[in-house]
């Protein structure tokens, strides 16, 4: 039995609200199937499962807003039967329903420490020395003597993060565990956890994040417009990036004459709906250039972790402001035509804020392209945990020295922002050089 958990769709996501189940208990799931639709800061997202199995039981209800990493449903292997519902008693704490004393009680008992405190025991006993209780209360007593003193807030945070309380030393009144103690323990656990999960697939990683206070003060997604929530998501991700990632920047001017000529000839023979945009060549060229600098196709999570798949996050700006960065998956394996088809699919869906979970979570490098008539250059901010972003300015005519002669050529200024923890300028430089070479041979893209 495994739990299907609320996936993280980026460093900026804290929670999601279940809008609709797409599968029923008993349904057979294949990897990639859409199990549910979830409302996030980035719109309504279709959530896919990553392993097959039979949907056994829902663990949250439609309308629940739960933090990333919260079990949403349990899956069992194909060919098995379900367990009685009683045993899969939910350990879920939707954000809206904060007041659930019985549940708090239930978890508390499961967090017993094994060292009985004599002092406490005698205290409790003298308290309940009444003979009528003596016979039946042995079990109860053994539970109570292990009672952990903890503030309601600290307990709420610990439960949301499924933190074991037994090892935590309290620094509050009477040795009670308070918020600061829980946060400290979570930080320690996070480090451990990263080591354990190094080999796991990215989609299975549930980054631990401290529960921020604002969760309780701000009304869940309700009441916030999509523009505002997108703005907040961008703000969170970019602030994190600026705070944590030491960026380095490189720039290269690339001659686009050959690429544009090839594009023109190709498009001439095509109906308008099948024509390619320059962005397609950029995407494909970036995907191929990664061969020369694989360290740029990676994430930084407790060290550099290279990715095998090349999934290019393509920055789509929304008309109402803000951006979304859906992934064009396996861009190196796609033909230019297939990439154009991907763009035709993904851009309108991004603008309508209707993306799938994998499209938001699986990018391995980001590409931003300003299109025509925009600024000449763009210096990107890396989307964590990625380690690089490639920026394409507008294609403009500039004087170029060619075989000792001055000529006008269409050029594009390409920039690379790299995470200096992960790579150095030399790697980036090699990448931009390779990118140039690929764009000089558009027919091979």
């Amino acid at each position: 039995m495994t739990d299907f958990k609320m996936p993280s769709l980026g460093a900026d996501m804290e929670a999601g609200t279940l809008v609709e189940w797409r599968k029923k208990p008993g349904d057979l799931l294949q990897p990639g199937d859409i199990i549910a639709e979830v409302d996030t800061q980035k719109g309504l997202i279709e959530i896919e499962v990553f392993e097959g199995g039979i949907l056994d039981k829902y663990l949250i209800e439609v309308g629940d807003k739960v933090p990333v990493g919260t079990p949403m449903a349990s899956l069992r292997p194909e060919g098995t039967t379900g367990v009685p519902a009683k045993e899969v008693k939910e350990q879920v704490h939707p954000i809206q329903e904060k007041e659930k004393p019985e549940e708090a009680q239930a978890t508390e008992h499961s967090e017993k420490v094994n060292i009985p405190s004599k002092e406490k025991l005698s205290e409790e006993k003298s308290f309940k020395d009444k003979p009528s209780e003596e016979t039946s209360s042995e079990e109860k007593l053994s539970e109570e003597k292990h009672r952990i003193k903890i503030s309601p807030l600290a307990r709420t945070i610990a439960e949301k993060n499924r933190l074991d309380l037994s090892g935590i030393t309290g620094t509050g009144e009477g040795g009670a565990i308070i918020k600061a103690d829980v946060e400290k323990a979570m930080a320690a656990k996070k480090e451990e956890k990263h080591e354990e999960t190094l080999e796991k697939k990215i989609e299975e990683q549930v980054p631990e994040r401290p529960v921020k206070e604002q969760k309780t003060t701000e009304p869940a997604a309700a009441g916030i417009s999509p523009q505002e929530s997108i703005r907040k998501a961008v703000a969170a991700a970019m602030s994190l990036s600026n705070r944590e990632i030491p960026h380095y920047y490189l720039e290269k001017r690339i001659d686009m004459l050959k690429a544009l000529t090839w594009l023109k000839e190709t498009n001439q023979q095509r109906e308008i709906s099948a024509r390619l945009m320059p962005a397609v060549l950029f995407i494909k060229a970036v995907a191929k250039a990664i061969d020369s600098a694989p360290a740029l196709n990676a994430v930084w999570e407790n060290g550099l972790q290279l990715k095998n798949e090349i999934n290019i996050g393509f920055v789509v700006s929304l008309r109402s402001g803000g951006i979304l960065v859906p992934a064009i998956k396996n861009a190196d394996l796609k033909s230019t035509d297939e990439i154009m088809i991907s763009l035709n699919d993904i851009i309108p869906r991004a603008r309508a804020m209707r993306l799938r979970s994998s499209e938001l979570s699986e990018s391995t490098i980001t590409l931003t392209s300003l299109g025509e008539n925009g600024a000449d250059k763009v210096f990107g901010v890396i989307y964590p945990p990625q380690v690089a972003i490639v920026g394409f300015g507008s294609i403009i005519d500039e004087p170029v020295v060619q075989k000792g002669m001055l000529a006008f050529r269409p050029v594009v200024h390409v920039t690379l922002a790299g995470d200096h923890r992960a790579t150095d300028g030399l790697t980036g430089s090699r990448f931009l050089e390779a990118l140039n070479n690929h764009l000089q041979n558009p027919e091979t893209l």
């Binding site: 904060k98 007041e99 503030s151 309601p152 807030l153 600290a154 307990r155 709420t156 620094t171 509050g172 009144e173 009477g174 009670a176 308070i178 918020k179 206070e213 309780t216 003060t217």
Partner: protein
């Protein structure tokens, strides 16, 4: 920002009464010694000469009688400001206040409002001894049908009366004897103040000090001292003791996760008890420490100054209580 003027609490109260008498002919002030003597605490000094005997009315020493008369006048369309010299005499008209003022709307099936305003001086004066130093805000705040205000700042002293007179139901205003000579700056054009909301007097993130009346400036001073020690306290002035603006203090507690409740009234079954209960009921899971109360010692207030001071929370007591909560 408009220009600021320095003003005593007494002058601010007087300016409010004067403005009310000027603006509305139905408004009149009645109470013991409010006219010729100028008020027991000189709040209404000179108003008799300015507005005449019909508008500033000395009454016999019979609280039950003249408060009842004020209630009657309000039923007849007048807007009386009834001054009960101090809350210490407030038990005498209690029957009029509870059984008539607070109940009439209900008994008349919603037909008859009682728009009377009753002002009382409250709290420890200076060495007035047990019978004249009461903090009885909780007694009145207990009664449904009343609006109970506590004037903890000079701006409220200047502006709460205006809004109270516009209220259709009986309003009790507690003013503080010990603050009368206290000076503070308020905007020169300070005017009517809201009488439905509590106010955050100082923003902070570490703890919410929830208080009213004299507790406000004491808590503000305490917060400044705490800031020197790196503790960022938020100070909430409840202002309206009935009906309580719980949204304000609950939001604060949800932010700071800790609360200290400060008032001069006797320590148990007081306004803080109610505030504490509501925090438990509605913000329990946001608490990171037990809610603590700092109230008056439960004794008749003593006459000697040092004992009088020791009988109600002082600035240092607030500072120490906060530190104990934050650094146990």
């Amino acid at each position: 920002m408009s220009e600021m003027i320095k003003i005593t609490y007494r002058e601010a109260l007087k300016a409010g009464i004067r403005e009310a008498l000027t603006n509305d002919e139905r408004v009149f002030l009645m109470g013991e010694d409010v006219g010729r003597y100028g008020g027991a605490f000189a709040v209404s000094k000179g108003l008799l000469q300015e507005f005449g005997e019909d508008r500033v009315m000395d009454v016999p020493l019979s609280e039950s009688g003249f408060v009842g008369a004020g209630i009657g006048a309000s039923l007849a369309g007048m807007k009386p400001i009834v001054e009960v010299m101090t809350v210490n005499f407030g038990l005498l008209p209690m029957d009029q206040i509870v059984n008539n003022a607070a109940t009439m709307l209900h008994m008349s099936g919603g037909q008859i409002n009682v728009p009377v305003v009753i002002r009382m001086s409250c709290g420890i004066g200076k060495q007035l001894a047990a019978q004249h130093s009461h903090s009885w805000e909780p007694l009145f705040a207990h009664i449904p049908g009343l609006v109970v205000l506590s004037v903890g700042t000079h701006e409220d002293a200047r502006g709460m009366l205006h809004t109270a007179l516009e209220h259709p139901d009986p309003v009790i205003i507690f003013e503080y004897t010990s603050m009368l000579n206290r000076e503070a700056e308020i905007p020169a054009d300070a005017g009517p103040m809201d009488i439905s909301l509590a106010k955050v007097r100082r923003e902070g993130k570490d703890i919410s000090i929830i208080t009213y009346g004299i507790g406000v400036h004491k808590s503000m001073e305490a917060a400044e001292k705490l800031a020197e020690q790196g503790i960022d306290a938020e100070v909430i002035d409840l202002r309206v003791l009935r009906p309580l603006d719980e949204k304000c203090f609950l939001e604060s507690v949800v932010k700071t996760h800790r609360a200290l409740l400060v008032e001069e009234a006797w320590g148990s079954i007081n306004v803080s008890s109610e505030v504490s209960a509501r925090i438990m009921e509605k913000a329990f899971f946001d608490l990171d420490a037990p809610v603590k109360r700092l109230g008056g010692v439960e004794v008749p207030i003593p006459y000697p100054l040092h004992l009088e001071n020791a009988s109600v929370p002082q600035v240092d007591d607030i500072v120490n209580a906060v530190i104990k909560i934050l650094r146990p």
